[in-house]
Symmetry: D2
């Protein structure tokens, strides 16, 4: 079974809401998902990460990059980087901010470089903008590809903040990552049994 860990940072619960939708989409696609808020890491965070087939990074975009709290987590992974303990895992990323673009691509670039440093393969957003597919769902309405990028309004998180179209994109992204992880895991098994 595809084993996914979502590690996100969220202060005002907006990015957290996205994380939960990603988890929902991945679980619906058959993955086993564990969600960790790295603001308050629990002891099993690192063992969960070690056991993951795929790690999904989540962070708000603050001042044009990942949050400082996310970056602190990234630096704590330098132990795993040094031994390349995560090499061969899949990675993917999502970010949320108050603007449609808002330099969110820079956050996704930072996450994709972090993944590359770890030797992890990078899974893209995987959701074509509805403007091209004509599916009427307004998915990926801003046109980000490197990962998932959503928007929330100021004010409390609610069922409509982030908006349903972004929540649906998050679920589709979660399903996409789950499918990639299942295939990647099956590949290991298959190659092993062939050996």
């Amino acid at each position: 079974m595809a084993n996914i860990v979502i590690t996100y940072h969220s202060v005002n619960h907006h990015t957290e809401a996205v994380a939960l939708e990603v988890a929902k989409g991945a679980e619906a696609a058959g993955a086993s998902v564990i969600v960790h808020n790295i603001e308050n890491p629990v002891e099993r965070l690192w063992s969960d990460l070690a056991a993951a087939d795929c790690i999904i990074f989540g962070s708000p975009t603050y001042m044009g990059d990942v949050s400082a709290t996310f970056k602190k987590f990234a630096e704590e992974t330098s132990k795993q980087w040094f031994t390349q303990a995560w090499a061969g895992k899949l990675a993917a990323g999502f970010t949320n901010s108050g603007n449609p673009a808002g330099d969110k691509l820079a956050t996704l670039q930072s996450m994709s470089i972090l993944a590359a440093q770890h030797g992890m393969l990078w899974v893209n957003c995987g959701v074509m903008p509805s403007v091209y597919t004509g599916d009427g769902q307004n998915l990926n309405r801003f046109g980000h590809y490197l990962g998932l990028a959503t928007q929330s309004a100021n004010g409390p998180v609610s069922e409509t903040n982030p908006a349903e179209e972004d929540r649906a994109t998050a679920r589709a992204f979660g399903a996409h990552v789950a499918a990639a992880t299942a295939r990647w895991s099956a590949g290991r098994t298959n190659l092993s049994s062939a050996a």
Copy 2:
């Protein structure tokens, strides 16, 4: 068998030399490799790309980005992008220039975004710098991770230009991409046979 197509642009044969080393490394790791210079595309380029399990992009870094000729190729793939014909393939990238850094990361970022637009998973460089592993081979001597980045001196291409340490890194990168492609392909087979 892992089916890899390398599409590169090279004017003065330096990037071409790297492409051939990548191919060598991938073939030695068991992959079937086809190499295309997109400067003079032949008719079967597009059918080869369609059949590939993994596409490796190669371009010199000129003025801080992929070459115009490579970018022209990238734009010609907009047909495949629109139908997401390449979604689910693997992708990786390499670049060569006259400086150790020389903004080569920007070229790799451009390639990784191109891959994400196509829905392709991005395979990293996969070669830890020798400075950390102590293997004495001076591999990945500049510390690039998102893809392979090599350096050549002005003057004609030769066995020592690009240098052997960068050629060895290119072969290790090729082997890394081949292993990822083999696993990814086996995963598809395995999931299919399970269905």
Copy 3:
């Protein structure tokens, strides 16, 4: 007087429409502006660029980066790069595509690195999103900062495609660049007279 040259690439006139709005804004702010479509360069392009206090780059975003035609122009500037003939000029950039985000940040990053290679100072977008200023004009509605990023719909260019809010942002960006260029030019004069 601030002497600005806008060099843009445009196939379907959408990016051209933005270029003309940028020129309008810069001229209204007192600058002298020359506009060149680099698709069909005229002979005086290079002498105009040599005489410019500020060069504004414009390109559509195609497949997540500057267009191949723009990149070809960038490579032709390698002569100026080698002698650093443009060092000390100002530079700024704009891009247009069919999506709100659409990886336009990557295009602006490519342009800002090109400018840095030339030793040119990079002028930002300079237009705060209306969502923060409450000016009711819906300026910089996507939240890009490194440069100007606008959106156009498929179909012919018209007074409302790109939309008036993006055209107004383009004029404000032009005025911002003109003011920076005036100050930068005045600084040279002042330092000279002090010498």
Copy 4:
């Protein structure tokens, strides 16, 4: 007089050594320079920043981006961003790491986007690689342009770690930023006296 504040983060004094060389170069070029280590901010940090004509950002590159401590500082500037209190200042950046490239470009990109969000103009590295100028000093030996990028070895900071060639590049970068700041400041004075 050009009024420059350098705000850097440094744990093991390597990036600090670079900061001090940048300051030396800027002072030799006539600038007034204040240096702040943001690891332990003192009370006058924010008033110094408010009074600066130019702010130079400095951070090690950790895991492919600015350090978490630097990012925390960047987030604390969101007050200044919201009121655009720093708009019209100059900005520049430098970074240090253990590898020649080591994804340092990503750190400089993050800093340049931060500057753009603040409405600050971005000053480039301004030091052509010696490999092109033939000055025999081995300046800018890795070929970075967006800002200053230096390398240090593991082990304690010393006169030769970072190496003298990188220290010389740092001083040249400092002088370059000082000259740009002097011109930019003179421009304000000149425009004012013309009004």
